[in-house]
């Protein structure tokens, strides 16, 4: 399948890419990993007149740890994050990177492209919502830093202006005694999840000091299950309380029926995923090594 014809521009720096975007106007699109954009172009759902390729810019694919935060370059591939030993100390980030599609897609796809795409089924936004995350956005001559919640506006919609790009993703390292887990239910590897749950918590003694729960693929944006969080925050975590949190998460979900399953099915599913992710997060917060894997139908 061939996409519509387009002119190809190779950006030499992020600044150059932003300049090209503003010069070329609305018909221009950035090309990062291409793992969302190229399939859409082949199906002719996306028909850019100009494509600005970011892949030849050096120094845009990095993972730096600095001042208690991870800084990811816009072109940092899912596979690099999956393999990073420093990122593995924040296991929920590893769960996310390692579970996206398959080896080939992870070798190309980028964290910047994923957030910019804002696919309601994308994994990164769901996971990063449970952490403290900021997105640096740049135009030709200036940049600004947005909280992830300010960056994500709606399904496939972000706060980015047409000539603005994601230049860095900043994720705070969680405090001591924290643990998190991300579990998705997938029909096979190279498809988006049917539903997913991300849980990040901090323990103090035998109590849950703080917790964030985010649900994926069950709304136009990832959903914070705040009542579920409230059920556990400050409490000694028991199976009964986890079950209440899962019920609250089911109530917070706003799924739609589609080929992946009915709305009712997804609502049931997301509660079960919250339960499993909370149990794994808790064990990790207590210092146990817990391998987490997505569930494949």
């Amino acid at each position: 399948m061939y996409p519509r014809a387009f002119s190809y521009h190779r950006a030499s720096s992020l600044k150059d890419a932003a300049t090209l975007l503003s010069q070329l106007g609305e018909g221009a699109k950035l090309l990062a990993g291409g793992q969302s954009l190229i399939p859409l172009m082949k199906l002719r759902f996306a028909n850019p007149v100009h494509l600005v390729d970011l892949n030849f810019i050096s120094g845009t694919s990095y993972i730096r740890e600095q001042d208690g935060a991870f800084r990811f370059g816009p072109l940092t591939r899912h596979a690099e994050i999956e393999k990073s030993a420093s990122v593995a100390r924040v296991p929920i980030l590893h769960d996310c990177a390692a579970g996206i599609a398959d080896v080939q897609v992870r070798n190309r796809g980028t964290i910047g492209g994923s957030l910019a795409e804002a696919d309601p089924s994308g994994d990164w936004a769901t996971v990063l919502l449970t952490l403290s995350c900021e997105v640096r956005c740049a135009v030709q001559s200036s940049d600004r830093t947005l909280k992830l919640t300010e960056f994500l506006k709606d399904a496939f919609t972000t706060a980015l202006a047409p000539d603005e790009l994601v230049s860095e993703v900043i994720v705070k390292v969680p405090p001591e005694n924290s643990g998190g887990a991300y579990i998705a239910f997938k029909r096979t590897a190279p498809v988006y999840p049917t539903a997913s749950a991300a849980v990040q918590l901090t323990v103090e003694g035998d109590r849950c000091k703080d917790i964030t729960i985010a649900l994926g693929c069950v709304g136009l944006l990832p959903i914070r299950a705040r009542e579920g969080e409230a059920a556990l925050r400050g409490q000694q975590i028991t199976p009964k309380l986890i079950a209440s949190a899962a019920d609250a998460a089911r109530a917070a979900a706003d799924p739609q029926s589609d080929m992946r399953g009915s709305a009712d099915y997804k609502r049931q599913l997301v509660g079960a995923l919250v339960k499993r992710a909370t149990e794994a997060a808790l064990r990790r917060a207590r210092g146990q090594q817990v391998e987490v894997s997505h569930i494949y139908a």
């Binding site: 028909n47 080896v103 190309r108 096979t188």
Partner: protein
Amino acid sequence: MPEAAPGVSIQVRVNGKLHPREVEPRKLLVEFIREDLELTGTHIGCDTTYCGACTVLMNGAAVKSCTVFAVQADGAEITTVEGLAKNGDLHPIQKAFGDCYGLQCGYCTPGLMISALQLLKDNPTPNREQIRKAIAGNTCRCTGYQNIFKAIENAATTMRSPSHAD
């Protein structure tokens, strides 16, 4: 909307041989490999980034070549299934797929062997679970995968042996 965008000059090294060519920007890497270079071992199955029949190594990393533009491979090193055999000798992965009946119709096989190559370069002693993850992006409609697991394990053993240089 430009009817045909200007061609772009690229140089791609495929299986060790440098190919300077001019390509239309919308040409996919898999079409470049199959049509321009006439290396038809790399297959197109789904053409939608699902099946992995088009898998090649690009600078050492497995990619689905139906989801990369040829212009993006400018300056890159590509390995296709044709690059596996050396001087007429089958690569251990090729030999193992034959010995273990790791193929039936063979449509998926080039992509699976490239995914196996990527795995065994990074991890010479993979367990079943690691093999399963490594080939999760490759669909086989014939074999049921069991013999593919065996073939990759068999290839791993051969490639670990001191007599295998490469």
